[in-house]
């Protein structure tokens, strides 16, 4: 007597009889329905939030498009000094930056940077004096410089990076003292999604990643000025734990070419009181683990998200074996190596300029994903 596999077909009758299940052995499998009619809605760019969960039925929404990539190329070292002025690079490295995302800027011209600097300086002076009219061009206490950092953009659609510096003289300085830099910020777009960038109307320039370092009040002033001048919106960019996992894996993969000196992971576990775990891994051991998952000699240059996840799982299992604590019950808060560090709240530090493109690509992607349409 052979086994009988009964496949159940779904028929939508309103009055249903009784279904008879005859199973001998565990043979039957529930089949996913064969093709659902695929209706392609018009693509809208950006990630809309998940549909209202309070209904039983889920209508397929037009949730699309900036898809989260599941595989990406390995981190490549680049002598970025070939393309970018080393002075500019020195400005970016060795500072802790706070991240935000920006919606596309309207009528932003890279040729008018000097006039933008004067306007911004006047705006800051005016805000400080609370509404007293200030003539554009008058020497105010603040000096603003907009510089274009050429060479960071990777593809043709990326706009060039713009670096902003605000300098001011300290209150009791002598006249000959050089002004000190009190605030720095830069807008950038590296390897942004080409379809999205092409879909923008021609007046808009997209520089989705905004990094700032300096006092909060100046940051808000700069943001307000940008919002008024270019009709854009700012928002804080908090990093995803997936992004941190990617950074840990990519940076570890760079170990043979550039010594990362350590792989430090900081976890936060939701206990009472919260437990902070700082997990430092020897770079050679981390690299061997990564190599066993994604062999260096493999010709395929793409790293899949599953390999990243098994790398993190390996680290977590090792920790569990020694301390009997499940790290996956907590959240990864900070990843740092000699190449840089990234914090969940959206703070990064760039240690080495060679791998800056990979880091910026990841950050541009998360900024584009976080941006509302």
């Amino acid at each position: 007597m052979g086994k009988r596999d009964v496949q159940i077909f779904f028929l939508l009758f309103f009055w249903l009889g009784v279904f008879l299940f005859i199973m001998e052995g565990r043979g039957s499998a529930v089949n996913t329905p064969a093709s659902r009619p695929l209706t392609r809605r018009s693509k809208s760019y950006g990630r809309s939030c998940v549909e209202a969960p309070s209904y039983f039925w889920q209508t397929p929404g037009h949730l699309t498009v900036l898809k989260v990539p599941t595989s990406r190329g390995a981190a490549k070292s680049q002598l970025i000094t070939n393309k970018v002025d080393p002075e500019h690079i020195a400005l970016l490295v060795k500072n802790e930056w706070k991240l935000s995302y920006v919606t596309p800027l309207h009528h932003f011209r890279h040729t008018q940077l000097k006039s933008y600097s004067r306007h911004l300086a006047a705006f800051i002076a005016a805000e400080n004096q609370q509404g007293v009219a200030v003539e554009v061009g008058l020497e105010a206490g603040f000096k603003v410089t907009f510089t274009a950092v050429l060479g960071l953009a990777e593809t043709d659609e990326d706009a060039e990076t713009v670096f902003i510096q605000i300098q001011s003289k300290p209150a009791f300085a002598a006249a000959a003292d050089a002004p000190k830099v009190v605030w720095r910020g830069w807008l950038t777009c590296v390897n942004g999604d080409p379809e999205y960038l092409r879909s923008l109307p021609s007046d808009f320039v997209s520089l989705p990643l905004f990094c700032t370092s300096g006092s909060e009040s100046l940051t808000t002033l700069v943001k307000t000025w940008f919002e008024r001048a270019f009709d854009c919106n700012f928002g804080s960019l908090a990093l995803n734990s997936t992004t941190l996992n990617w950074l840990a894996a990519l940076w570890t993969g760079c170990h043979p070419t550039c010594n990362i000196r350590h792989l430090k992971l900081a976890w936060s576990l939701p206990t009472q009181p919260p437990l902070d775990v700082s997990y430092t891994v020897n770079p050679q051991d981390a690299w061997e683990l990564w190599n066993s998952i994604h062999p260096e000699e493999s010709t395929d240059d793409k790293i899949d998200i599953k390999e990243v996840q098994s790398f993190i799982n390996g680290l977590e299992t090792h920790f569990f074996r020694h301390f009997k604590i499940y790290l996956s019950a907590g959240t990864l808060v900070k990843v740092s190596t000699a190449l840089g560090s990234a914090h969940l709240d959206g703070k990064i530090k760039i240690g080495n300029s060679d791998y800056i493109t990979t880091l910026l690509t990841l950050l541009t992607e998360s900024a584009l994903l976080k941006m509302p349409t």
Binding site: I8, F10, L12, W15, L16, F19, F21, M23, R26, S28, A29, V30, T32, R36, L38, R40, V50, P53, S54, F56, W57, Q58, P60, G61, H62, L63, T64, V65, K67, V68, T70, A238, N240, S241, T242, P270, Y326, S328, A329, G330, T331, K370
Partner: protein, 183 residues
Amino acid sequence: MALLTPYSKVPELNTATVLLVENEEELQSKLANALVQYEKDFNVNVRLARKLPLPVENKETRPRIDLIVFLVNLLSERSLQSVESSLAHLHSDCFLGKVCFLVTDARCGSHTQERLVSVRKLAAAHQCPVLCAEHRTVDGVNAAAVRLLNILKVSAGMSPIATTALYLSSLTRCSVTSDLEED
């Protein structure tokens, strides 16, 4: 390997049994209390577990389980991992309307969005509904209990219209949009 089967025991009169499986054990007891205290016209037995497989010792005394609810806390990766490993211990018959996923903290931050997508993909692969619940307030827990009771009524065969679990599952199963499926 002993699998949990849905139809191997005789049902009791006017009673429905629901099994709440949760790794962290924080929402389970609150939800169980809300389920039991809510006013309804049939008896509800609630059984709690941390993960499947259920202990073999209780096999004889355990009543027939009408609905298995997996509670997933989206803030912890471990929650999702333990649910994935528990799913292997269910007989395939259970997926015809007897399994439901309940996720909490779906609105907290960006890292829960990706976990929510993976829970939805998992549920769509098994043809089960996904409910989102808010577990920090009493109202949220009560609302989740009411929705679970609605599903439980149908799974236990107590709905007055001749609706069975099978029919309900084809209406309530989680659908994943074609763009999400392309990954």
